[in-house]
Structures are given as structure tokens and as C-alpha cells.
Amino acid sequence: LDEVIVETAMKRKQCPRKILEQVIKITKAQQE
């Protein structure tokens, strides 16, 4: 349980920023 909690919490911390970075890349590519 502890590992799952830590893993989930780390995803919640890191993934949004990574997703945002990817979406920005995609958006820029689309605009170009």
C-alpha cells in the first residue's frame, strides 16, 4: 500500500507538468 501511495503521489506531482510540456510541444507543432 505504501509503495502504491508513493507511486501514485509521485505521478500526481510529475505527470501534469510532463503532460503540459508535451501538449505545448504538440500545440506549437500544430501552429507551425
Binding site: K11, R12, P16, R17, I19, L20, V23, I24, T27, Q31
Partner: protein, 173 residues
């Protein structure tokens, strides 16, 4: 509330004090009664050593955990984050457990920028088209004028050639 790092130290110190108070020398001596009767000073020294070692071991452990998790600066950072939220009363957002729903808010600023960029591009294209449309209309006008001039020249030449033919005809007679 005091800074979290200080609170952590204070809480551990209180724990230690109360633990030592609970494990008093009197209690210690009563558990080793016979030995204490035989060697009271040694018993006292052993008890003092016991307390000193236990306190040192526990304080070292806390220091080690703080160093390992970089807990000092992390707790200070949390103090700062809480301080920033001072005045807030409503419970703040928390992850819903649905990552897609939670990611929505993160992407809103990006989507707003995209919309703004598209609006700019649309306005730019519209202005360009307005300019182009005027150029096209002006161009059509110029072409119409050229066609009229050519028509006029052609009519003039045709009239001329008609006159010529009439003249020749009349001359021919």
C-alpha cells in the same frame, strides 16, 4: 504555530523527557532492587548512562531522518506554502482520483494560449484578406480600364479601317 522543523524537535524532546520521567531512577532501582542494594552508586551511574545513551540514540535517529529526507528545508518550504495560503478558509482542491479530470485544469492555460494564438492568426488572416480583396477589386478595376482602352483603340482602328474601305469603295467608283 512555530516552524514545523522546530515543532518536530520540540515534540521529540518532549517525548524523550516524558519517557525518561516515566523510566525514573526510582523505578529503575526498584526493578534491579538487589543489585541496587549491593552497588547503589554503580546502579546510579548505569542508569545515567542508560538515559544518556537512549537520548543520544533517539536524537541521532531524528537527525539522520531529517538529513535523509532533507526534512529541514522541506518543512520550511511547507511552512512557506502554508503561509502563502493564509487567509484561505475553504478546503482546497485535492486530486479526485480521475487523472484525466485532474489534468484538465493544468492544460487550461495552454488551451487559452492556443485560442489566443488562433484568434490572432484569424484576425491577421482577415486583415490580410481585406487588403487582398481591395487589391483584387482595384486590380479588376485596372483591368476593366485597360480593356476599355483596348476596346477604344480597337474601335478606333476598326472605324478607321471602315472609313478606309468606304473611301476605297468611293474611290474605286
Amino acid at each position: 504555530t512555530p516552524p514545523r522543523a522546530q515543532l518536530l524537535d520540540a515534540v521529540v524532546e518532549t517525548f524523550l523527557q516524558r519517557l525518561v520521567a516515566a523510566g525514573s531512577f526510582r523505578r529503575f532501582a526498584s526493578c534491579y532492587r538487589r543489585f541496587h542494594q549491593l552497588q547503589p552508586e554503580v546502579t546510579r551511574r548505569i542508569y545515567d548512562q542508560f538515559v544518556a545513551q537512549l537520548q543520544a540514540a533517539i536524537r541521532d535517529e531524528i537527525s539522520e531522518i531529517k538529513a535523509e529526507g532533507n526534512l529541514g528545508p522541506v518543512l520550511d518550504a511547507l511552512d512557506a506554502i502554508v503561509e502563502e495560503a493564509r487567509g484561505q478558509t475553504e478546503p482546497a482542491w485535492r486530486p479526485s482520483g480521475d487523472p484525466e479530470a485532474d489534468t484538465g485544469s493544468i492544460l487550461v492555460p495552454c488551451a487559452q494560449q492556443r485560442r489566443a494564438a488562433l484568434l490572432r492568426a484569424l484576425r491577421g488572416q482577415r486583415d490580410e484578406n481585406r487588403r487582398l480583396a481591395q487589391a483584387v477589386l482595384a486590380g479588376r478595376e485596372r483591368i476593366r480600364a485597360l480593356q476599355e482602352r483596348i476596346q477604344a483603340r480597337r474601335d478606333a482602328w476598326q472605324a478607321l479601317s471602315q472609313d478606309q474601305r468606304e473611301l476605297l469603295t468611293s474611290l474605286g467608283g
